[in-house]
């Protein structure tokens, strides 16, 4: 993990209030593990003092360029959405434990399930899995057609099924519906998205080889402030915890309470 200033190489809105931000700097050379995140200052002032944690969506190591995708919804992310090419952003990263890609062999099958703004980190994961010869399938769920993004990019790597809750694009329903409809199976499952989605996947696939990326409000993102803790499954005392920033954000299915 390093603290660095990175320069905006481009930003565009790719779906309703969903922005793709590209950043360049030496620190990007360290971003080799899918599922990690970066912690960004949204502006130089103190009204939004805390950094915003955003997952790494893609990395071009040769050109030292990082891509993140985020939803502009609060003060910090709305400030980020105003950044233009050439602007500098203060970044901490890479942070966290990402998706383990050594759990599936060449020729094996990986199912990547994403929900809404949980989709982006699965793209870098999918690129790395296909690069080592893993067969990938993707199920990405969104609320409506207005929020769908990256369908072509995922489709270029493997079968891709899009669901929308309101049926305005792709298949109507949730990601679990698509998994049933197409009878998708896997050697390893990787998922990132809303807690309700992760719970539904855990209910269905607990005991299988699966890894879930959690989201939690963060302060320091380096394990000191204990803002982002979650309970541990099976802990009868209720006092054990894991830090989403440092022990996660990726956990084996069934380890932490969702």
């Amino acid at each position: 993990m390093k603290k660095a200033e990175v320069r905006v190489s481009g930003q565009k809105e790719i779906a309703e209030k969903i922005y793709e931000l590209r950043l360049r700097g030496d620190v990007v050379r360290d971003m080799t593990d899918p599922g990690q995140f970066v912690h960004l200052r949204a502006d130089g002032g103190f009204d939004t003092l805390l950094r915003r944690p955003i997952s790494i969506a893609d990395v071009d190591l040769d050109n030292e360029e990082l891509t993140i995708v985020y939803r502009a919804g609060g003060n910090g992310t709305n400030n980020l959405a105003l950044k233009k090419e050439g602007d500098l952003i203060d970044l901490l990263g890479p942070l966290g434990n990402g998706f383990p890609i050594d759990k599936v062999q060449k020729g094996g099958k990986a199912l990547l399930v994403g929900g809404g703004i949980g989709v982006p980190p699965l793209y870098y994961l999918s690129k790395q899995l296909t690069a080592i010869g893993v067969r990938v399938q993707h199920v990405n769920g969104f609320s409506s057609d207005k929020e769908v993004f990256y369908e072509d990019r995922f489709a270029a790597l493997g079968d891709t099924f899009i669901t929308t809750v309101d049926g305005s694009y792709g298949e109507k329903g949730f990601v679990t519906d698509a998994i049933s409809t197409h009878q998708l199976d896997f050697d390893v499952l990787y998922a990132c998205g809303p807690t309700a989605m992760l719970r539904a996947l855990e209910q269905r696939f607990k005991g299988r080889e699966a890894y879930l990326s959690l989201e939690q409000r963060m302060g320091c993102a380096v394990g000191a402030c204990l803002a982002c803790v979650c309970h541990v499954q099976g802990d009868e005392t209720g006092t054990e915890y894991r830090k989403v920033c440092e022990d996660g954000p990726v956990f084996p299915i069934g380890e932490v309470v969702l």
């Binding site: 805390l50 409000r217 204990l226 979650c230 006092t239």
Partner: protein, 69 residues
Amino acid sequence: MNRLAVKLPGLEMKNPIMPASGCFGFGQEYAKFYDLGLLGAIAIKAATFEPRFGNPTPRVAETPSGMLN
């Protein structure tokens, strides 16, 4: 002469830099980033005799120039 030294009742610090306790864990977390001996003092997070999980999450809120933790 150390012009940064601070003398408080019961506490003498070589400089007036002390991190806010809620943000500083239990000391060892930031030790991996720099020598804590550079600080005037540290204040750790609240500690209890029996283990406690603490407040349910979310348990941090941003404020202008700060945070509630």
